[in-house]
Each structure stands twice: as C-alpha cells, then as structure tokens.
Amino acid sequence: MGRKYLLGNEAIAHACIESGVDFVSGYPGTPSSEVIDVLRVQPDRSYYVEWSVNEKVALENALAAAWCGVRALCTMKHVGLNVAADPLMTSAYTGVTAGLVIMSADDPFAHSSQNEQDTRCYAHFSRVPCLDPASIQEAHDMIPEAFSLSEEFGLPVLFRPTTRICHSKGDVELGEPVAGLRKGEFHKDPRQYVVIPAHTRVLHKKLNGKQPALRKRLVERGFNHYKLQGKTAIIASGIGATYVQELLPEGVSFMKIGAYPIDEEWLGEFVKKHEKILVIEELAPEVEETVRQVAGCVPILGKKNGYASYEGELSLTAVAATLEKAGFLKKNPFPSGDSVQNLPPRPPILCAGCLHRGSFYAIKKVFKDAVYPSDIGCYTLGLQLGVVDTTICMGASITVASGISHAGDPRDVVCTIGDSTFLHTGIQGLLNAVYNGANITVVILDNRITAMTGHQPNPNTGMTACGVESPPVSLDALCRACGVRYVENVDPYDITGMINVLQEAKKQKGVKVIIAKQMCVITARRVGVKRGRYRVDSEMCTGCGTCIRFGCPAIEFADEKARINDLCSGCAVCAQLCPVGAIVREGKK
C-alpha cells in the first residue's frame, strides 16, 4: 500500500483491515473514537461494525464473535474498560477461539478524561497480555501481531495506545487489506463457556498455566528487547521509549518494553549486568515494579524514589529533566521556556447556538438554590455557567442526584445527562431512583447524537454506525416504562416553554424527567439547517450585560454595548433574554 501521512487511529484502523478483522464493536471515547469512525465509513467493508450502547455491551458482543471463530476488535477509552471490566476478567478464563483485540486508549494528562488510570494495570489484574506501542508505526505493526498472539494463546489481547499515539500523526508504511467476514459458528462447550464454579476453577488454573510461555513468547516476538551498551541502563515503555531514544547518551544500555507480562528471568539477566537503572514510563509504575522485583541490590531510579512523576504525560522536556536528575545527562537540552503570563484563557466552550446553554439558563432561573449533578459529554462545560456541581463517570448524574436526595439535603436536586450517556448507563439510575422514591428532577439534554467524541450515532439518532436506518428509541416511553409519571418534552431554544415546564416540575414530588430536545448545532449545520443570524440594535442596547452573562461565544461587549459576531447560528435564545428587545434578526428593523 505504500506510505501515508496518517493519524495514529487511522493507522490502527488500517492495520485491522490488513489483519482481516471480521467483527468490530466499541463505544466512542477520546482518544479512541476515530478507529471505528474510520472503519465504519469504508466503502467496501468486509467486516461487521457497530457502535454499541456501552463498553460492557461492546466487549460481550466482540467476545461472542471471537468464540464463534471470527476475528474481533473492541475499542474504548481507558475508563470504558472499567465498564467492560466484568466481561474482561472472566473472558481471560473462557479464552477465545479467534483473535480478540481490546483497544483501551489511555489519556495521560487527562486531556479529555476524568482520570489518568493505566490500562496496563487491568492486563496485570486480568492476566491477559497487553501491547503498548511507542510510535504510530509500531501501533500499526502491533495489530496483526495482537490478533495472532490472541489466537496462539487463546486469550484476549489488550492494546493500549495513549493520546500521543492515537492523536499524533506520522508517515506510516501500510500493508495490503485482507478481506474479513468469515462466517462464525458457535461450538457448544459448557466447560469452556459456562463458568459455574466447577468449570471456572479449572479455567483459572489453565489461565495461570499459560503465563510462563506467554512471557517468553513476548520476548521472542520482539516486543521486548534491549541493547547492551554500558554499565548503566534505561528501561522505557510506550511513548517514553521514543523520547529516550531521542536523548539516549552514548555508553548507556537501553531496554524497550512493548508488551506485558514481562519475562522476569530475561529481565533479571539484563538488570544484573548493570550498576544503575533508570525506568521511564507513563502513569503507573508497572515496569518499575517488575524491575524492582528482580533487581537484587542494583539501584533502581524511577517514580518510587522521586526521579519521575506518577502523574501527567511524558514529553521530551520531562524525560530530559529526569535523565538529568538521575545523572544520565549533564544538562537538560530543553529548558522549559517561560510562557507569557496573565493572558485571558481560552478553554473549550459550548458552541454558539448550543442547545444546552438554553437548558442550563432555564434550570438556573427556576432552581436558584439547588444541587446540580451532571454527567459526561459536551454539557460538562456547563461548569462555566455554574450548573454542574458533580461529574464522576458515565451515567452518574441520576444516581448522584438520588443519593443526595436520600441523604436528606433539603435543596432541590436537578441533574443533567445527555442522550447517549443516558442510554449508556443512565437508565439503571433512573429505574433505581423511581423504585426507591427519590425526589429529583432529571433533565435529559437530548441532541440526538454522541457529540463530544465526534458525532457518532446512537440508538436515539435513527441510524446505525454504517448509516443504515434504525428505529430511534423513544426516550419518553423509556422513562415512562421505568415508572416516571412526570415526563415532559420541550425545545430548549424556547426559553419560556422550558421555564414553564421546569416550574411545573419544581412543584411535583418524586422523579420528574424533562427531555430538552434539539439537534446539535454542528449536526444541524452539516445537514443544511439555516437560521437567520441575529444582531444587536446598538441604539436600543442599554449595555446591561444580560446577554453577556448567557456566555455565548457569538456575543461580545465593547464600548458599553453588546455586539453579535459571525459565530451566531440563529438560535434566538439571546433575543428572548434581552430585557429591552435590542437583539433582532438580521435584516429586520
């Protein structure tokens, strides 16, 4: 296929096609989403592909496919693996027939995540192998290896790229596509697939029995390798290995770890040949702990004795600083430059015309002194508007709300959750809140799509991952089926309507659900929805600042007057808020 300049995730997707993948499932999550986004739009697809409703569902589907003898890929972000941890742990026991690769993308520095957990810990915990690429090319080349390794040992394989692999770009040498879509067939074998105690005890022993050969095989396959070059050594993994290679001083040995579990015997022999060893890796001290176990009296420098940080992501500058501190470099060649201080920050912000801004405005207006649990999606940015008090994980807005309500807080509890998040793991929380008689208001921020990760369709959209029409789920019927008596549908661009509904909900006891439905402003633009822009009549504007406090990036303020810039998408919410009617549609007097 030749060389191409590709995003890491595009290279990974291509490698899956080169591996003859047959079945693909996953749930979107930064930085993993583009793998399926690339696979689902290929014109001559020879594999099945779906966006699942959550990661547990995705993994169980993929596992079943791999049991049926077809190659399966399942993608998610690191925290998605928490949701899928239940099937992961026992899939190591049951094993697989055809290759199952679980891509769980880590996000050091939490660029777009709620924590900095390390997928390698799950590999250790579940005893499945884990591949940890150091570059885009290696990520690409590891995928076919991951499938064949999975088949050789009959185990799922975790594949753990990080943000700087997934969202980096580089020139990548690609291979030829291989047609997938073999027909799967499930061969019944209860001792393998029915994990009753009598069976699972045997399977556990089998899983442990695979480990020694697996450790050796990862060295033989070249994932873990070293060069002896001196009396001191650096052991590095993931993108840390790439930074070390750029900085490696002469006369220092180098070991690269690209796969786990590490063969301790092999590692011990390397360690013994050195007088001092520095370990460089992102996030958890996974490699360092193994090195320390075999080190004997060889001094080991790493996170545990303060030479490297447990948190954040590595960079050339950070690795050079560690090398300097550990005595491997005389001077850091990349002293961190001083950035200009006190510039106004430009954090991500809800788009001009975003439906959520109207919902948040109305919530704040009606429920002034309330607690606002929220969830994960674009609308977490409602934090800037003072309407997000909690966010911990997918689906945890309704549950946190009912917990606060039952804990006895006398204030109103109003929680917000997006449609995709509600379908991911929100429904159970609602069911539970109704069942146990919580007193909360739930606002489902329904923009018909999974927006933040790049507009992936979900069961609410009316379309599958591949663009095939599907019956859109009725959120209204779903909530009523959970036992909610008060369910109202409202357009969040209609501020008066939204306020009226919220005021009504405020009077009622029990669980109230308000579905605030409007298309995501980006999707709307893409499908050609055109609304006239608005402008400020500067003669009428009193400069009161009501529209400014609404926080829309299309509204600016200069010379004591508001002004609307060309980001305006015509949602008209600010026109409804202006106390003097100074915001008018363009072209109108």
Binding site: Y5, H111, L316, T317, P344, R346, P348, I548
Partner: protein
Amino acid sequence: MSGSFDILVVGIGGQGTILASNILGEACLIEGRQVKGAETHGMAQRGGSVESHIRIDGMFGPLIPPGNADLLISFDLLEALRYSHYLKNVGKIVVNRHLVLPTSVFTQNLPAPTQDEIIEELKRHTLCVFDADKMAEEAGSPLSQNVVMLGAASPSIPLKPESLIDAVKRLVPKKTININMKAFELGRKYGGTC
C-alpha cells in the same frame, strides 16, 4: 537530537489548523521525507485554543519541546502570544492580524491585551503579520484563510513550493482547488516580502 524542522500551527478550534498541518505532512510524503505531528481532538476542540505540532524530518516523538520551534504559524494574535515560548530565539512568527477575544474576557471581565500590544510583544521574534482574512476573500473564499497562511509561511519552510501546492491540491475539496491555489500564491507572494 533529531535535527528536525519544527513548526507549530496554532489557532482557535474550527479555524482549520488541522488541514494546514495535514498539508505540511502530505508535502513531506511527496518529498519522501519523514514527518511526525500531534494535534488537539475531543473536548479541547470546542472553540478552545488548539495546537498542531509538525516536525519535518522528525524521527522520534511528535511533540515540539518549548524553545525549540523554528516557525510559529498562528491564525490569531492572542494565540500567537500564548504559544510564543515554543519558538527558538531565532524562530519566526507568521500571524494573521486578527484577534478573537475569548468569551472569558466578557463573562469574567478579564483584562485582555490589544492588537498593538500583542504585536509589540511578538516583535521579539522575526515577525510577519498581515491580514490573511482579507487575502482569503480576495482569493475567493474566507475559508481559504488557512492556505493563505501556509503560503505566507512557505518561504521559511524547507519544503519545495511545488510539493506544498501538490499537497494543497490533494487535500482541499475538489471544487475549491482554484480558490486555494490563488490563496497559496497570494500568501506566498506576501510572505516573500517579510
């Protein structure tokens, strides 16, 4: 050390920084040179400050260390200042004379530097500042602003103009090739003078 030529492209989410960096990457492929890059995706892209790193002849990591960039291409004055510490002392800035104040300035009443104050600060480096929006309109579409910027920066980039032009043709929508060609030429002509 890698010996790469390091370019940082910065702006505001939605301004087309990613297309600009893709064109640079494609031009490297055309010349058979190695290239590494990194960019902002996901939550950070929603109207926030965005950065794309491109390391021409890069063999190792995708991120440019602060103090190491040879060239800073910025679609906005404030963003140019925000990332100016990435430049080498001898580095060059090519920046659009355009300032979008962050919403935080209005909602939190934060002080913000003026256009002239920013330009004065940026003068510590070799500076090429011009109205790329106007030039893009002259080329036929305000959307070609990113290609205008690339054109203006191109005399400082160690890639042949033919490779960049080929890359632009490959990556922009077919219907807009002529507009983008003109955008590149206008930018390049101006860039040669500063």
